[in-house]
């Protein structure tokens, strides 16, 4: 695909402000790009980089908070999009330019069937009298890979799985064979295996119809898998643009280079950092742990049992890091909640330093809670928004009165903040005044406050931007060698634990399917599910 074809969409020097009290906030600053028929342009950027705003302007979809196009031209097939009135804009949207979004459940109207919502595209563009609409909709659903399309046409959005909903959105978008499809983070909310199917579908459809595809993503692997050309955005500006392979292999701008080093699947740029020495002593021994839920006890259906965690056993040695990897619903988070005694198991034992966690009560349980701490996925949600950093970090001392005399609290908070790479004066701020990565550092400082031996990290970096993810993992690795901590690190992202975990357990539907040394798992995976996980990490387009 060459970029020399006549461009179907050209954006020149686009500058967009968001208006609010005081000075307008610049969301997009002097951005130019174009896209040609049949070509895929990826706009790569982290959250807040302005990548969604620039394409929202193309569809005329930014109004709240009120957006204001300060300058720039948007030319679609010779039409100036900034000059359109409502009616001509309507004639373009859905017919010639279409869009799919990140969260299809929210972007589909919950009270109408998917068939009706797709048919609305035909209706809106007075195309409903061409052929049998219902049949056309069914064909579309079949094309995007919805099984049993003829029947499912009458289903409501909530009756589909996440990946299927995105397929429905795609069916809606391609209904009238648009010239451009804009995909705004279309796979971010999906599991990796579903993600690769959706990307494949988009690629196939593009080949069939020859439409231009603009793909917005923060995910480097997705970008590499889809892009012919890439523009990288940061702080509302385009910092780098070019052919995909060039940008990936030879980044020019400092920001892009930093991004690329955060790409986990590539050969490790830093020394692999498995923990220095794994001492022989067993810290945690989990035996036949199970958690069952009873489902659907309706008046007509018999009770069904859902096995969230099914006979799981593993051990964690002192100083060791065990990664637990699995997709959503694999039971990995249930294990974390049980180990922290937030949920009770159906059966099984977990011995922490020789004592069964599930048998602990009262004082003994409190003692245990000091020695095991948890770092949660969403650092903002795991801190009380009303408390400042000082009271957040010192809460363990307020609960366990004997850890630290109150007079020492302030000094110790400062020490802990500095240990996790923050400043002592941050203690008086509230969580919302920090960025996501900083908040996770505060959460780590709080976990360290009670001087634990084991830290359970449940998707601790999943909510963070890629470049921040590596920093936080670096901090955890550094603390491990300095304080002799052990970790249970739970994630859905297999590559991310490669440099960090000593051992990895792969879970599927509540069961451990593979448990082995990290290097061995990556080099010679034995279970087919592990292999599919490794393979579903998208491959760069140019390497195929």
């Amino acid at each position: 695909m060459t970029a020399s074809d006549k461009a179907i969409l050209t954006i020149e020097n686009l500058t967009v402000d968001f208006l609010s009290e005081g000075d307008p906030a610049r969301a997009v600053d002097n951005v130019s790009f174009n896209v040609c028929p049949g070509e895929t342009l990826v706009i790569l950027g982290e959250s807040g980089s302005g990548k969604s705003v620039s394409t929202g302007t193309v569809m005329g979809l930014i109004d709240c908070p009120p957006g204001d196009i300060v300058s720039g031209a948007l030319l679609f097939d010779g039409i100036d999009l900034t000059e359109l009135d409502e009616e001509s804009r309507r004639a373009l949207n859905g017919r010639r330019i279409a869009m799919i979004f990140q969260d299809p459940l929210a972007y589909l109207n919950p009270v109408y069937t998917v068939g009706r919502q797709i048919a609305e595209v035909f209706e809106a563009h007075s195309d409903s009298d061409v052929g049998d609409v219902r049949e056309r909709v069914a064909k579309l659903l079949e094309r995007v890979g919805i099984p049993d399309a003829g029947r499912r046409i009458d289903y409501y959005p909530h009756q589909f799985s996440g990946g299927q909903r995105q397929r429905v959105m795609i069916a809606m978008a391609i209904a009238l064979k648009p010239d451009i499809l804009i995909a705004d983070e279309p796979t971010t909310a999906l599991d990796v295996s579903v993600q690769s199917q959706i990307l494949e579908l988009l690629g196939d459809l593009q080949r069939e119809t020859g439409m231009a595809l603009i793909m917005i993503t923060h995910d480097l692997e997705v970008a590499a898998a889809m892009a012919d050309r890439i523009i990288v955005m940061n702080g509302g500006k385009v910092v780098e643009s070019g052919k995909a392979q060039d940008v990936f292999t030879n980044p020019v701008h400092a920001y892009t280079r930093r991004l690329m080093t955060a790409l986990p699947h590539r050969s490790p740029t830093t020394e692999p950092t498995p923990s220095a020495e794994v001492q022989g002593e067993i810290l945690l021994k989990v035996e036949n742990l199970s958690k069952h839920y009873v489902l659907g006890a309706g008046s007509f259906s018999p009770k069904r049992e859902f096995r969230a965690v099914d006979d799981v056993s593993f051990t964690v040695h002192r100083g060791e890091t065990v990664g637990i990897v699995g997709e959503s619903g694999s039971g990995k988070s249930s294990i974390a909640r049980m180990l922290l005694r937030l949920d009770e198991p159906t059966s099984g034992r977990a011995l922490f330093a020789g004592e069964d966690i599930f048998a602990l009560e009262g004082r003994a349980l409190n003692g245990f809670r000091r020695r095991v701490q948890m770092v949660f996925q969403d650092p903002f949600g795991s801190m009380n928004p009303r408390m400042n950093v000082r009271s957040i970090i010192s809460e363990p001392w307020a609960i366990h009165r004997d850890i630290l005399p109150k007079a020492r609290w302030n000094d110790r908070v400062v020490e802990l903040l500095e240990l996790v790479g923050l400043k002592g004066e941050h203690a008086d701020r509230h969580p919302h005044q920090f960025s996501g990565g900083q908040r996770q550092r505060i959460a780590i400082a709080r976990a360290l406050a009670s001087e634990p031996e084991l830290i359970v990290c449940d998707e601790a970096v999943s909510a963070l931007d890629v470049s921040i993810q590596m920093q936080v993992i670096g901090l955890l690795a550094d603390l491990r060698s300095r304080l002799g901590l052990s970790y249970v690190f739970i994630t859905h992202d297999l590559p991310i634990v490669r440099e960090f975990a000593d051992r990895i357990m792969v879970m599927q539907q509540g069961k451990v399917v593979e448990d082995s040394n990290t290097e061995m798992l990556f080099n010679s995976p034995s279970h087919p599910y592990t292999m599919s996980l490794l393979n579903s990490v998208p491959r760069p387009k140019w390497a195929r």
Partner: protein, 305 residues
Amino acid sequence: MMLGYIGRRAYHSIISLVGLLTLVFFLTRLTGDPSALYLPLDSSLEAREAFARLNGLDQPIYVQFLQYLQNLLSLDFGQSLRRNRSAIDVALEAFPATLKLAFVAMALATTLAITVGALAAARPRSIFDRVAGLVSLAGASTPDFWIAIVGILVLAVGLGVLPTSGTGTGWHWIMPIAVLMLRPFGLLVQVVRGTMISALASPYIKTAHAKGMKRHKIIFGHALRNSLLPVITVAGDLATGLINGAVVVETIFGWPGIGKLMIDSIIQRDFAVVQSTILVTAIAIFIVNIAIDLLYVMLDPRIRY
């Protein structure tokens, strides 16, 4: 599933109802001896005792209560002391007048409020929105007894175009309904406007724009359809509250409904009638709630009981 759900609802409602009737039974017994009200002041002690014995008032209060429960089970709601008739008949006789009034007021208030609220939300901060906002706030803030008096003062006494009270002609309906619907209308406009504004900002509206749908179809087909759900819930609560308004309106306009009957019976210490009106009102409210739940299921495919 649905039948099971209604069964559960009915079960809960019956518990609530029994609780309420128990409360009212004991409270009304505390107000004083009804024989003082029904017999001449100079009647003899013997006459009073005879009256009490006749009506079971000489028994200990718990015996009276057990007797009352037993009667309830056999659908006997006691005699009206004042009217010498079955109490439940008195209550049921007054009920249709209130029902008609409440139904017309509620239907008018809901339709008007949905139209006004949706139009206001479609053009936020326009002149129409501001006027609708102020009018609806005023509607929700007006003391109903006062606006009724002012209405009589201006329209009946001053201009003489409408009758002051009674039920005779269609003209008699205008003021009671206008006063009764004022508050539900005001509150509902607020709710419709609020839910419409958040519905219009929701992601599926963006999808509709991206599909190129016509503006009025987006507003009425997608946004209004979705915002009806919370509106129905509020309308249900307001229907319960409408009885409050009915008491005031019926008292002022002399409307022979259940609200007026209730006030009169409380003042006359006619226990059986008070309890019967409570029973009738509570059952009516229960039916309204079930109807609203059914409507909800019809409108929201995500809900299955």
